[in-house]
């Protein structure tokens, strides 16, 4: 093994290596890795806390207590003077809550002359029973005089009690639900009359001051209108602006200034866009307040810088060799961009657009300023009609005190989060689908 001997001889003649702190270097690397893991762990903990708090409060919002009972549409109560043929207002203004109350009184076997008891009974069912029964009668007046089985919404307090959200150890007088009502609830649920079912109203109804009848349906439609308009406006404008700036515009002071301004605009607080929309679209251009169109225009302005920055980055990332290849073949600049550069940049553009849209979907502040923080009960038929948006609806519910609104706030947040997750998944899928290697 003379081969091994030679280096040892050589080493002894060489001056020893300087101590460069190998151990310290490794220790520093280990420390850095630890910091990184701690940072990620912290992030995960907070995310988990957020999700836990939202889901634990909100999952009950997807269930709603209902009372299914036979209701007698008695002509004496709806139309005591038999004038409905001549006066259509009779059916509109009839005393429908009385029908529900009578039905419950009958089902529970309460003495109808016991006024206190009867008042407690009528508090079991939601005040929305009025509109529900009225709509039934208006749709088909022939049911007057018959008995129909109707599923009525339980009152919000009863709903909360049924979900076990009301603390029964509190003294009866300072509780929203008294012991008698609790007894009736038990009686009704044993009879299969009082049930918990999936809360479709949460997805279909509009704003209501009664939590059991309030839903995000109208706000959802408003948000949908806005997303569509933002997409239709911001994507083409943003992509066209980016292509021009990136590929055609001469590089001079003016374009530098524009670039700096676009980057700055992306960081402008969204409420400033709301003020801009208020003064330009509503005060100057005279567009309607609370309209999804105005909201969408404001959100378009807000989303454009995001889309432009993402698109320019995506265009920049296309290797110059692809451009050179196309130009070298005699393709015009326009052909080069539209045949080769844009398809390669598409995944990046789509991701940027969807992230911009998701940002716009969750935006509340600018919408407050243009009057979209409105109590909108009916579905907006067009983007010009008053509407509201999902995050604004959440904001409004968060201001309400009732226990039932608390769970609905969280429920709506869950829906919004799911929506955002779906959009981001879409972005990832589109990216995967279009991504090509070169």
């Amino acid at each position: 093994m003379t081969v091994l001997d030679t280096p040892s001889v050589a080493r002894s003649s060489v001056t020893p290596r300087r101590d460069i702190g190998i151990k310290r270097r490794y220790a520093a690397e280990r420390r850095f890795r630890l910091y990184g893991m701690l940072a990620i762990a912290l992030g995960i903990i907070f995310l988990a806390l957020l999700l836990w708090s939202v889901f634990s409060k909100g999952y009950t919002a997807f269930q709603q207590t209902t009372i299914t009972i036979p209701v007698t549409f008695s002509a004496e109560i709806i139309d005591p003077r038999n004038q409905r043929e001549t006066d259509p207002k009779i059916l509109q203004a009839a005393n429908y809550p009385l029908l529900a109350r009578d039905a419950l009184v009958k089902a529970l076997g309460v003495n109808p002359s016991d006024r206190v008891a009867v008042r407690s009974v009528s508090a079991l069912v939601s005040a929305s029973a009025r509109t529900q029964l009225r709509d039934l009668v208006m749709a088909d007046p022939t049911i007057i005089g018959t008995t129909q089985t109707v599923t009525l919404l339980a009152d919000a307090n009863i709903d909360s009690a049924n979900k076990g959200q009301i603390d029964l150890s509190v003294a009866e007088t300072s509780r929203k639900v008294n012991d008698r009502q609790l007894g009736w609830m038990k009686q009704l649920s044993e009879a299969g009359v009082l049930q918990k079912s999936f809360n479709t109203g949460l997805f279909t109804s509009g704003a209501s001051s009664r939590p059991e009848a309030a839903g995000i349906g109208v706000a959802f439609v408003g948000s949908l209108y806005m997303m569509l308009i933002v997409l239709v406006l911001a994507l083409p404008i943003g992509v066209a602006a980016s292509i021009y700036l990136e590929e055609f515009a001469p590089k001079n002071r003016l374009t530098d200034l524009i670039e700096v301004n676009i980057n700055n605009l992306a960081a402008v607080p969204s409420i400033v866009y709301g003020l801009l929309g208020l003064s330009i679209f509503i005060n100057f251009a005279g567009m309607p307040r609370s309209a999804a169109l105005v909201g969408a225009l404001v959100l378009t302005l807000m989303t454009l810088p995001t889309i432009i920055i993402a698109t320019r980055a995506a265009l920049k990332a296309v290797p110059p060799s692809i451009r050179a290849a196309a130009l070298g073949l005699g393709a015009s600049k326009m052909q080069t961009i539209f045949h080769h550069v844009l398809p390669l940049a598409a995944p990046g553009i789509l991701t940027g657009t969807i992230i911009g849209l998701a940002h716009a979907l969750g935006e509340t502040a600018p919408l407050l300023l243009i009057g979209m923080v409105a109590f909108v009960v009916d579905y907006p038929g067009s983007p010009m009609e008053p509407s509201t948006a999902l995050p604004v609806q959440i904001y409004m519910w968060a201001n309400e005190a009732e226990r039932a609104f608390v769970e609905r706030t969280s429920g709506a947040i869950i829906v919004l989060l799911l929506f955002l997750v779906v959009m981001n998944m879409g972005a990832i899928l589109l990216r995967r689908r279009f991504e090509r290697r070169w």
């Binding site: 060799s321 073949l329 045949h339």
Partner: protein, 271 residues
Amino acid sequence: MNIITDTALEKALDAKMNTTPLKMIGKDVSVYYGDKRALFDVNLNVRQNTVTALIGPSGCGKSTFLRCLNRMNDTIDHCRVTGLITLDEQNIYDSAIDVVELRARVGMVFQKPNPFPKSIYENVAYGPRIHGLARTKSEMDQIVESSLQKAGLFNEVKDRLNEPGTGLSGGQQQRLCIARAVAVSPEVILMDEPCSALDPIATARVEELIHELRANYTIVIVTHSMQQAARVSQRTAMFHMGNLVEENDTDKMFTNPDDQRTQDYIMGRFG
């Protein structure tokens, strides 16, 4: 490489070369990148059906000159070209010349193989499509096949024309790029160090191809490899610091150059 010592033979060769028509003429060509001047009054002619090699150390302006020949320098901001460059006695910087048409006549192959991220077929068919060279699908199929054949690639890829061009090996990709350039029937093909990213076997394949292409096309090739210039070209031009040092028959250039700098460069004293 046969060494020519006989002056009579030399003269005869010169005479023969001089009868070859000039395809492109460069007269007092200067290029400026902003304030920086990259080329100084270069006078260099390109002969028809000849391979002209441009050699010289890095940054000497050979690629810049090459890119003037199909106006690829137009795509660079602040780049200005002065002087006269003609293609078949027509000034290519004339406003009457359309750059799209010029680039169809003067094709280009780049240093790094740069196939489009599309199928092999689409890579070749793209040029003929934008120039309207094929009216029917079968005409296009024919152009694609003959182009791939000219590039010596057809037999290797005929069963996978619909697979991505980026999936081929480096040498195959470069031949695909040559097929792509050939597909638009150019008159001149410019090659900017076409083999610098390839291994020796792929390089040999491309050099062989350059030999074959010479029959139908005029070729200008920029290369860093002196051996390659000697192997593939008939004429060689030596650039140094933006100046054309010497332009000569390749055989003469590598045996008995007129200029001392050429001699030094070829002997490996600088560069």
